[in-house]
């Protein structure tokens, strides 16, 4: 007991250097835990984006590519699905609902998604939450658009504002003969929905009526009222989200779609595709974790150097301990205890830093990047990291402890200063 008290008093006596060392350790531990938090938060945010969808169907490509362009609006589809295929899939046994997705146009940097009204009830995010409207409602008229929260915030759109869709993703050719009207604004979701302009499938068809091969037919102008009279039947879509009656049938339906004879199609389970995505980005994650582990190691070595640098001034202290009968291993034990206490304090403070930082940054991370990181009690993994830091810190203490051992054997009681 008295030795623990002495170790604490000794640390307190050197409070400035010790505090700086604890702070450095805390920062490194905070960085390590923070990286882990962001990593798991990013994973669950990705997973939360496709809640309640059993299969994603698109033209045959890679599962990750299909997942990225259909749900995350990253990259482009290499091919479309014909409307006939879509109707065949909708009629397949076990299909409860199906929502078509048609991508390819944009509005001032935001993607335009052609879909059906069912999209707004079927799409689920973050554990089954449905989309909610901040203002207005679903599209009724052919030229109605529903915009995500980020689109509304970035462009300052309000209900009823006009909106012109551009052909392609980074294009100056505008569908300006057919302006849309903002009919609904969605609540913030933290998913790519926030950055999407939603219109009906028919509208996508309508604005392309007078277009051929990616360019407007010369002289052709679209008359919105005339178009409203037409029966617009889409010819192709980009992808479709499918929900099943029973999840038990998912593999059978997946096989049926993948073996669809009329057209090469691909159906993926979102969870499986996500796993594949993680295995791709896993290398970067491991590198990041490795770098933050190196930062922890640097901080602990800095602590060992701090203790080592102070040893010479403490030779007198060790001589006194030896004189009252302490064995050299007690001197070793005191220094290891010191290193352990510093790294434990650093680990605890680092944990506190992470939670404090999270409490402050959580709403910002959610609104700015759609990264929702829940604040929950540290799990076994985090406690394991903390225990490993204390163990590694104590082990780093072996360096000064060994030196002190040699010194106290050589000095005995003779050091006077």
């Amino acid at each position: 007991m008295i030795l623990l008290r002495l170790a604490l008093r000794s640390l307190l006596n050197r409070r400035l250097t010790v505090a700086l060392t604890i702070f450095a350790t805390a920062l490194s531990v905070g960085l390590f835990l923070g990286v882990e938090k962001v990593r798991t938060g990013a994973r669950s945010s990705f997973a939360d984006t496709v809640s309640g969808v059993d299969l994603i169907v698109g033209a045959r490509s890679g599962p990750v590519q299909l997942l990225l362009y259909s749900v995350f609006r990253i990259g482009n589809a290499t091919n479309n699905i014909t409307w006939e295929s879509y109707e065949d899939i909708a009629a397949m046994q076990g299909v409860d609902w199906i929502v078509p997705l048609s991508l390819g146009d944009s509005h001032r940097g935001f993607r335009v998604l052609g879909t059906t009204r069912e999209y707004f009830t079927r799409y689920r995010y973050r554990g089954g939450q449905p989309l909610a409207f901040a203002a207005g409602g679903r599209f009724d008229d052919l030229f109605d658009a529903v915009i995500g929260a980020d689109v509304a915030a970035a462009l300052g759109y309000r209900l009823g504002d006009p909106l012109v869709v551009a052909h392609g993703l980074a294009s100056f050719s505008l569908h300006d003969d057919a302006p849309f009207r903002v009919a609904g604004i969605l609540e913030k979701t933290g998913t790519p929905v926030d950055r999407t302009v939603h219109v009906s499938l028919a509208a996508i068809e309508a604005i392309h009526i007078d277009w051929q091969s990616g360019a407007r037919a010369s002289g052709a102008r679209l008359d919105p009222d005339a178009v409203r009279q037409l029966e617009l039947r889409p010819q192709a879509i980009t992808a479709a989200l499918v929900g099943l009656d029973s999840r038990l049938g998912v593999f059978r339906l997946q096989r049926a779609i993948n073996d669809y004879p009329e057209e090469p199609l691909l159906a993926v389970l979102p969870g499986v595709a996500l796993q594949e995505l993680w295995s791709v980005v896993g290398v970067a994650e491991t590198a990041l974790a490795g770098v933050s582990a190196m930062v922890v190691a640097t901080a602990l070595l800095g602590m060992a150097a701090m203790i080592l640098a102070g040893l010479n001034e403490r030779r007198r202290e060790m001589a006194i301990l030896r004189a009252v009968g302490a064995r050299p291993r007690v001197v070793v034990g005191l220094l290891l205890l010191e290193a352990g206490l510093i790294s434990a304090a650093g680990a605890a403070l680092g944990l506190g830093t992470v939670y404090g930082g999270l409490a402050i940054a959580q709403p910002f991370l959610d609104s700015a990047w759609g990264l929702y990181i829940p604040i929950e009690a540290p799990g076994a993994g985090e406690l394991g990291v903390l225990a490993a830091v204390v163990a590694a810190g104590t082990a780093a203490g072996l360096i000064p402890a060994w030196r002190a051992y040699r010194m106290s054997l050589a000095d005995g009681m003779t050091v006077m200063q």
Partner: protein, 237 residues
């Protein structure tokens, strides 16, 4: 009935520092020396006469290459380093010239420190160790205000030396070894310190071995030894 064994017994002792790291080699030899229980012995000699080496041997920090040191009839220098450390904790109280105390620790913790390594002494003190430490400090004339100081480093040098004596005496070790304990004190404080040291060593029934180059203190001791008379030093080959 045979006489009780002497508190400290040295016979045929020989220790040599190897040449090299600490400069030229240096050897110390002590033929026979016995200090009786309760005796107060003054050991004086000029610096460089091997005082520090002899003290380190008597305290069990160093082990001799030949000969033996016995404490109260029990082998000491022949024990392993770890057992010598334990025996030093139990049977010896050591007072240095200065810087005796852990500067960051409280006065009481400094006094209680040896008990952490000497269970026998701790047992003799009994359950209320702090009360015993306070009693010793009061007997050594340390004012209450000094006891309340946050750390031992705030005390005056004279007060620090008294705390060191209390630390050496707590739990009743057999021998108190004092190495120039007064040389950092002024003349007035020195006399008062010596009075208190004698009184408390006598009260504890301990043997006192004090080393100093100040021959003027010798008259107060039972016996005075010149180091160059009992020990031979030589520059080793």
């Amino acid at each position: 009935m045979p006489a009780p064994p002497p508190a400290l017994e040295i016979s045929g002792l020989r220790f040599a520092w190897p040449a090299g790291r600490r400069g030229a080699g240096f050897a110390l030899a002590v033929g026979e020396l016995a200090i009786a229980r309760g005796e107060r012995v003054f050991l004086h000699g000029p610096s460089g006469s091997g005082k520090s080496t002899l003290l380190a041997l008597i305290c069990g920090i160093l082990a001799p290459q030949a000969g033996e040191i016995r404490l109260a009839g029990a082998p000491f220098s022949a024990l392993s380093a770890a057992r010598r450390d334990r025996m030093r904790a139990e049977r010896l109280g050591i007072v240095f010239q200065m810087f005796n105390l852990l500067p960051y620790a409280s006065v009481l913790d400094n006094v209680l420190l040896p008990l952490a390594f000497a269970p026998e002494r701790a047992r003799r003190v009994g359950p209320d160790r702090r009360a015993e430490a306070r009693r010793l400090l009061a007997a050594l004339g340390l004012p209450e205000a000094a006891l309340a100081a946050a750390s031992a480093a705030r005390l005056s040098v004279g007060q620090q030396q008294r705390v060191a004596v209390a630390r050496a005496l707590i739990g009743g070790p057999e021998i108190v070894v004092a190495d120039e304990p007064t040389s950092a004190l002024d003349a007035g404080t020195r006399a008062a310190f010596m009075d208190l040291l004698f009184a408390q060593v006598a009260a504890a029934g301990a043997t006192l071995l004090m080393v100093s180059h100040d021959a003027g203190l010798a008259a107060r001791f039972d016996r005075s030894l010149a180091l160059d008379r009992i020990a031979r030093t030589e520059a080793a080959a």
